[in-house]
Amino acid sequence: MSGATQFHAGVDVETVERIAEERNEPEWLRAKRLEALEALSDLDYPDVIQTPGRTWTNLADLDFEALVEPFDQTEEKDWVADDQATVVPFHEALNDADLEALVKEHFGSVVDPEENRLTALSTALFTTGTVIYVPSNVDAEDVTIRTTMNGTSLFNYTLVVTDQNASVTILERQDTGADADGSEERYYSGIVEVDAGENAYVQYGSLQDFDQSTYNYTLKRGVTDTYATLNWIEGNLGSRLTKTGVSTLLEGESSETKIVGAFFGHEDQHFDLDSKVWHRNEHTTADLVTRGVIDDEARSVYEGVQDVGENAWDTSSYQRENTLMLSDESEADASPKLIINNHDTEASHSATVGQIDQEDLFYMEGRAIPEQAAKNMLVEGFFVPVLEEVEVDELREDLEERIHERLH
């Protein structure tokens, strides 16, 4: 697709130069931003599923002209980490020669800035971010990053690099500031790149809880070295519309990944969630598990792809997706896909959509539990299989609490 980008005239070379200048960025980064800017009009919006007569998520119709304000990117960010891992704001990292070299090596290596129009936009305009580096043999404790959005737009970038035998658990949260104008529409865009070194272990959890006037685009992708494990937790509660992709490229032999998703949509929320895994070497394992609940007029779109390449001998790949519909006005769309090019594979997927089991409800009512309370318990129970996968206590508790709040 080419032609008009739908961004206002202020998204231009001058703006990008000014963002880079104000942050005293090295030349290579400025060049990358400008390349991304130049590519904008030739790139398409992220892929969305289309079936005869229907487009599952319509990104092209969003009012990007109003949503994208390069100079209204205000936020608060705080970081909690122990001293085992290096956790620094993105632009601080550029002031340290070693870290700058690390960033230069990895920036854009997992997620191509020109993958689509929105990644390019994010690359051109991002003003904030985090670099997390865990050296060899270091077992880092929990790293927590909280980003609170206050302005019209925010473009965020996170890089995680772990060396051999390193391990780290990261929890990133996004929400909207209490002082933000609730009547104004907002746009958040986040890119996360993870490079998990040999035999490293990374768990990356995210909890998105923006207010319901926020449009949210995120792309999180990791690549694994030999024997590495990369586990994602993707929690989505907030936003008006979310388009999010979580993916792992299993490049190293015997590497593994898990993508666990939980979402709860209500009112007119729209969630479009992708989980993808590419098996590119021998003995790799993937497990994709997503559970979600939709209520009111909310709509969920799920796409899961298990792609087994021809060199991926002895692959195991599993996927499950379950959606619970609490309202007749809601809609749940799902498309779990298998792309298998190596026969030495054990792969399966399953997906279900349904309402609360009437027998369960009947049983509980028979135990004198009022209907609404019984329903709430069943919804909370529905999330248990995914919550059990969450190793970060804080994230699990937050999710439980937010689900509980939404039900009451």
Binding site: I49, M325, P336, L338, H343, T345, H349, S350, A351, G354
Partner: protein
């Protein structure tokens, strides 16, 4: 001799692969022009409304782009519709189909003898239609069905003899020409095919069958099938297809429309064995009224590329759809097939079972859509796809789409992909089977849930075809 023994004794490869000299009474130019369409319509002496529909379809065809943006779709770049001869009328005296095989020219009679059609007719069928190139050359049905008002005739004849009912149903609500590019192409150049009408409360006990044979190189076959099953009626329609292999491409683009009225039951079975130079791009659809049942059973064995997604629109309360699909892709084949079901009324049910086998670099894909409309409460759908892969050159994809707009539903989809089990092969070998026999037996077991739904002749046929594929001796 039972037909089963007969089939086993016949050399199946020879049965499909023979070629006959190409003669015809009338043959159109290659490609698609308004003039060609007018000639076809004139040669058939059609009413004006049909010519108008053809010309409208041609316009739509010209306007629509080739489908190229479906994820992972078969490569159609080698298909040049302008090089295809859309219409060949074979040289037979009786237009609309002879009632005796003896009345046909020897070469055509011999063709269908070799395909085993007259034999099957005597043993297991209520009626048979046989199409050679673009025209139905043989059509017969047992008298007892005719007496009950069942109509089974070729589509061209139906346009003349049952004009009103055809005019109402032909490519109007079910498969309009605007549905997709190949439906539009079909609407412009269609020829031959079957018209089946089953009156209220009539059950046609034995299946009726149509067999489609392409003999000429570079031709396109565009038969149209229209089935109307009135309230409480029941019929099983079977189609078989084959062609010898040529160096240039053939195109098969059939159109099938089925109307299943209240409490009616239609089963539509296809065993497709087109030669591996054939593009097989069909549109098949059924509209199912209250408590009606539609069953699609498809075996896709042949063709270079197949894109086929039989669909059911469950329009009436309590309507049911069953899909059973088997695909086998060998060297150079891309079989992209599946199902589409629209649940547009409460209490509707669908089940889709798909089995696919990819071997020697072939590709299979299950592509399916289940849509449950708002208000279709207490509906349920269950989709199961299993794929078996033989080697590392092959590809097996699964791409289901589910659109659920109603909460009081039960939706389940499951899929598995795996290789043929080494342990199973080893077990059978230890019982004295060689490697090939063991694998054949495993494949036969894998597809058994599907073959057991077919009449015995077809089940045997399907197994024979798979055996041949596994030996790598066909095409």
């Amino acid at each position: 001799m039972s037909s089963e023994e007969n089939l086993q004794e016949t050399d199946t490869e020879a049965r499909f692969e023979f070629k006959k000299e190409q003669h015809s009474a009338f043959q159109s130019e290659k490609g698609l022009t308004e003039e060609t369409i007018r000639l076809i319509s004139e040669d058939k002496d059609e009413p004006d409304w049909m010519l108008e529909r053809r010309l409208r379809a041609l316009k739509q065809y010209k306007k629509m782009p080739m489908p190229t943006d479906w994820p992972g779709q078969p490569d159609l770049s080698e298909l040049d519709v302008e090089e295809i001869v859309p219409y060949i009328r074979p040289d037979v005296e009786t237009r609309g189909g002879a009632e005796n095989w003896e009345d046909l020219p020897d070469e055509i009679q011999d063709t269908f003898e070799k395909l085993g059609i007259p034999e099957a007719e005597r043993e297991a069928l209520s009626g048979v239609g046989a199409q050679y190139e673009s025209e139905v050359v043989y059509q017969n049905m047992q008298e007892r069905w005719e007496e009950k008002g069942v109509i089974f005739c070729n589509m061209d004849e139906a346009v003349q003899e049952h004009e009103e009912i055809v005019k109402e149903h032909f490519m109007t609500n079910c498969v309009p020409a605007s549905d997709n590019k190949f439906a539009a192409l079909h609407g412009a150049v269609w020829s031959g095919g079957s018209f089946v009408y089953i009156p209220e409360d009539v059950t046609v006990e034995m299946p009726v069958q149509a067999y489609f044979r392409m003999n000429s190189e570079g031709m396109g076959q565009f038969e149209h099938t229209l089935i109307i099953a009135e309230e409480g009626s029941e019929v099983h329609y079977i189609e078989g297809c084959s062609a010898p292999k040529y160096g240039t491409h053939n195109l098969h683009s059939g159109g099938v429309e089925v109307f299943v009225k209240e409490d009616a039951h239609v089963q539509y079975s296809t065993v497709q064995n087109w030669s591996k130079n054939t593009f097989n791009l069909n549109t098949k659809r059924a509209i199912v009224e209250e408590n009606g049942t539609m069953e699609w059973i498809s075996g896709s064995m042949g063709s270079k590329a197949t894109m086929l997604y039989p669909s059911s629109i469950l329009k009436g309360r309590g309507a049911t759809d069953n899909h059973i699909t088997i695909a086998f892709a060998g060297e150079g084949q891309d079989i992209d097939t599946g199902a589409k079901v629209y649940h547009n009324a409460p209490d509707t049910k669908s089940t889709i079972e798909s089995k696919s086998i990819a071997k020697d670099g072939g590709r299979t894909n299950y592509r399916g859509l289940v849509h449950i409309a708002d208000g279709a409460e207490d509906s349920s759908t269950s989709v199961e796809c299993d794929a078996l892969m033989f080697d590392n050159e092959s590809t097996s994809d699964t791409m289901p789409y589910m659109e659920i707009n109603e909460s009081k539903v039960d939706v389940a989809h499951e899929a598995t992909v795996g290789k043929i089990g080494d342990e199973d092969v080893f077990y059978l070998q230890s019982r004295g089977l060689d490697d090939d026999d063991a694998k054949q037996m495993i494949v036969a077991g894998f597809i058994e849930p599907i073959t057991e739904e077919l009449p015995i002749e077809y089940a045997v046929e399907l197994n024979r075809l798979i055996e041949l594929e596994m030996e790598g001796s066909l095409g």
